[in-house]
């Protein structure tokens, strides 16, 4: 298995030479690998840095735009598609990949092998591979990489101290691709270095961070900024000192503002020590409750990064209401490419259909940046499953130009990645990928019924696995009913939405089926819009998901994918088939034991 496997850019075979330092040089090198492409480069410093256009074979672009344009034109050429017309520019300035890599080489929620750049408590990487990574990121338009876990474990605190020269060297590898570095920091860092406090209103703390920022930007002048997970899941934060998250974030933002740095603050605060007996606290309410009152209080270089849903990357969640509540704040949308709850790169799960739906509820202008938790690792195929690279590629495409386009992006990725397939085969594979999210949802968590996963590892079914735990993730299924009432009569979560959305969610008769049990507690004999009872729909959806997986497997097995992708995809498909059956049977058995209702079609539900 070659280390040079490059999903979606297989025609760029040569490593990028180490002596290229500017995107324009990289662009010229890439063009040189595609004889007959016939493009000329015309760098144009008068254009916005990331903008580009193409006309009469001339790619004109700003400093990094010239490279984005080159990749886009080469891709269009390979796909036989027309070149875009007019000036191309990304909607968002910051298109970020957050890597949850630890310096010991592990990757939190990583399913593609160990870290690409850390091992044994230090930097350890193949520079060629990092440059190939830069090529991939630039080719889909991504421009920021946070290289360490938001849970900052020892010794990653030292990335911005003792490790700064190594960090600068690493930044240098990605700079020719227009990719800037970010690090996750520990809010209590001043105390780790023997300071008496990390209180953001303390002058000593403020001076400490300013000095730290000066040091970091002196070493890496184009450093992007800091990412912070504060007061979340046992991370330190401003709450320790009775300060708001605005006070905490602004203190850091002011330290880095003179350097043009961005302070990315994760809006991921909830009570992870909830008593399961407590029915008043409702975790989905937490981000809105914490942050909405702070709208307008964040400095201009703060980006508040909000997860797509109010929970945590479940297969189906409503869009987070926080997005509608903070018009005076720079918000970033955070999605997760690592398939923590969506198959862990074993199950096929193409994300674009999910993002299409997201865009229906969340107009692109609501946010001003996007971030994705990485799915990359040291595996030869980068993302664990050969098809998981689609999600990385697609995220870049959406980040550049957010619009519903699942079919197009999937078709492009398939065409670029598997040029040896026939048009029919490509269409078949694209169709399989396009359907994969719906299939996965059906056998795992239809009707908005999330969190029935194995605790800790989050893979596989465990219907009651999170039911008595402290994470605020309950379904409270009993012999009569299931779900949490999040309407005005229940926890009131639905009221966090704008009135027109609230109205839809509030009433089970109008609430979309896919979110029904997210918003409502319903009896098993509740009759759905399609005339079936809730319990029958639970059975039907799980059986349908399993059947569709079996068909998906047949389709996959028949596809003449190139090796090693074919073997890898088949091996993982066998696991997916097994696991889909587990999901279907275990969830159905769980509800059958509770409800006592037999399947209307007499299918086998195990005792």
């Amino acid at each position: 298995m070659s280390e040079s496997r490059l999903s979606w850019l297989p025609f760029l075979e040569k490593p990028v030479p180490a002596d290229l330092t500017e995107p324009a040089q990289v662009a010229a090198f890439e063009l040189s690998q595609v004889p007959g492409a016939g493009f000329r480069l015309a760098p144009d410093a008068s254009l916005p840095e990331e903008a580009w256009s193409v006309a009469q074979g001339e790619i004109r672009g700003g400093r990094t735009g010239i490279l984005y344009g080159t990749y886009a034109c080469l891709e269009a050429l390979k796909l036989g598609r027309p070149l875009p017309e007019g000036l191309q520019q990304p909607l968002y300035d910051s298109r970020m990949i957050d890597c949850w890599d630890n310096m010991d080489g592990t990757v939190e929620r990583g399913y593609a092998g160990r870290s690409l750049w850390f091992e044994g408590g230090k930097f350890s990487y193949d520079p060629d591979r990092i440059r190939r990574l830069g090529r991939l990121l630039a080719s889909c338009g991504l421009n920021v990489l946070c290289l360490n876990n938001v849970n900052v474990h020892e010794p990653a605190q030292n990335l911005i101290a003792d490790w700064l020269p190594k960090l600068a060297a690493f930044a240098g590898l990605l700079r020719p691709f227009g990719v800037r570095l970010m690090t996750s920091i520990d809010f209590s860092q001043p105390m780790r270095e023997d300071g008496p406090t990390a209180d953001p209103l303390d002058a000593g703390v403020q001076a400490w961070w300013k000095e730290c920022a000066d040091r970091v930007w002196a070493a890496i002048p184009d450093f992007f900024g800091f990412l912070v997970k504060a007061d979340s899941e046992h991370r330190p934060g401003p709450f320790t000192y009775g300060r708001t998250h605005a006070e905490g974030a602004n203190m850091l933002a002011r330290a880095i503002a003179p350097h043009g740095g961005k302070l990315v603050w994760r809006a991921f605060v909830y009570n992870c020590m909830q008593d399961w007996r407590d029915t008043h606290t409702d975790r989905p309410c937490a981000a809105y409750d914490t942050y909405a009152p702070l709208d307008g209080q964040f400095d201009d270089n703060v980006i508040l990064q909000v997860k797509n849903g109010p929970f945590d990357f479940q297969v189906r969640e409503p869009v987070s209401p926080t997005f509608y509540a903070m018009p005076r704040t720079h918000l970033a949308l955070e999605v997760q490419l690592a398939q923590e709850y969506t198959g862990q790169q074993i199950d096929i799960y193409a994300m674009p259909p999910m993002w299409d739906e997201l865009l229906e509820d969340l107009p692109p202008q609501t946010v001003s940046a996007v971030a994705a938790v990485s799915n990359m690792g040291r595996d030869a195929n980068l993302c664990g499953h050969p098809f998981a690279a689609l999600n990385l590629y697609a995220f870049g495409r959406y980040a550049w130009s957010p619009a519903p386009r699942a079919a197009e992006v999937i078709r492009d990725w398939v065409g670029l990645t598997y040029p040896g397939l026939t048009a029919d085969e490509r269409k078949t594979l694209a169709g399989l990928l396009l359907d994969s999210r719906s299939v996965y949802e059906k056998y795992t968590a239809p009707l908005g019924l999330c969190w029935m996963v194995s605790p800790n590892n989050h893979y596989g079914p465990s219907p009651d696995g999170y039911e008595y735990q402290a994470w605020g993730t309950y379904h409270k299924a009993n012999r009569d009913a299931v779900g949490i009432d999040r309407t005005a009569k229940g926890t009131g979560y639905a009221a966090q939405y704008p009135p027109e959305m609230q109205a839809v969610y509030e009433d089970p008769a109008t609430c979309p089926d896919e979110l029904l049990l997210f918003f409502h507690r319903l009896r098993y004999d509740y009759v759905m819009r399609d005339g079936r009872t809730l319990i029958q729909r639970i059975y039907d959806d799980h059986f349908a998901g399993l059947e569709q997986t079996q068909k998906m497997a047949e389709t996959l097995y028949a596809l003449p994918l190139p090796e090693p992708d074919r073997t890898e995809a088949r091996e993982r498909m066998a696991l997916q088939l097994h696991d889909a059956r587990e999901w279907c049977d275990i969830v159905n058995t769980f509800f059958h034991r509770l409800s006592g209702v037999p399947d209307a079609h007499g299918r086998k539900i195990w005792d």
Copy 2:
């Protein structure tokens, strides 16, 4: 916190000098620490090695008996109890402690800190502490220590190869205390050293083990033998080659027989890859099914080590039927001091009452050896909880002279360990300990309902935690009923017992309440002998267990234990209280959600 804390022998303060090599020398040294004890030593080579007697202040004994006698007499003196009359001899020659220590320093299912002798892949210990350990073991009459995990992880395979000199040195530390060493071995070891097979009928394999044994016993002439976990939970074994466990064990036994070695073979085979849908396979049947047909086929120096119950150290199990099925085999009873399923040395759990019950069903002569999985670790108090040392001490007492004696042993341990308490306080503590098992059982797993624990870590409640897993541990609770029918109409497990026991277990009207749901599947409205319904008993027992824990805490808090025991016991009691409440509320909620039956007394059951 002093490293020299010695539960039950606090009057022996001085470390045993390193230059003592014989038990008689140790005996003399120990006596010298108790001025005025007034005992004289009379070693008597004509006595059996472990036998001793005392008369007119003279302790007469065989080679190790002289030391056992010394400890017993000093203890009697300290307790103010009469000295025993006549010749004292242990019922079993082999009284073993199995340590699940890994060479990386971890202890599997260890809750008392890291390994006492391994760290970082090698031996690493304080010789003084190992000698203190030898003193403790000898003082309660234990004479074999297996120093490594039955799951033999790298590099522990090398204990009997490259590490042999270190092993010999370690054996030398315990020899003055009459404690002999044993190691767990890997059945596939010949293949690890590049042999083509580990087939027990292969002449090369047989020669390999003979050469290995020659080497081990040359280095350690009094080495006790090998302990083997084969074909169990993914360990290698004779099944790989289509051989029986008798063939596997005998091959090893013959290699070590010339040296007088014992081959201890764990009878712990079951299908740990069971499909939860499979209702024909019943894990408790496995040991009997595998081993009973082999009775009479094991060599004389094989000891077949059988766990006390047919599952795996649950708080309540019936005695394993295998004990009654193998009269022509040397059997060892295996119990677990490590409180894997019984509170993990957080919850107070004194085992002697459990062993009293065990002896009711299992006459001591049924087995010819005893073994206990260790609860020891590097914690200053050796066993994690200051009271957990009771279980180690008591195991030694039972091993020497198995008879129902819980109250006596607990009273003695309390008297020896806490001489500063008043008689009333000692009585209070002894009473608390005597009740602790019953209290724990009530709030965790009354009525024989086991395995409702958190998967993997085995601490805390998770009613459905093992329900859909591959370990063969199911209760199959649904809205109407709970339990597995193990009668003739069910899996047939009860038929593995002698007829008179089978008759008792087979009928819910005669089956002891504590085992009711182990043997029977019953509806929640089943009326128990005391007139209460099953569901009400489930509620009542859990509430009672919680209440009794609260009273236990009050009692404990009022006891003026010496420090640091007082603080340690109070800290753990706070955890126990919290966890007892979790058990009570979670299990009751689980059954309330299923059954819909309210508590007859209107107590709060959470939704």
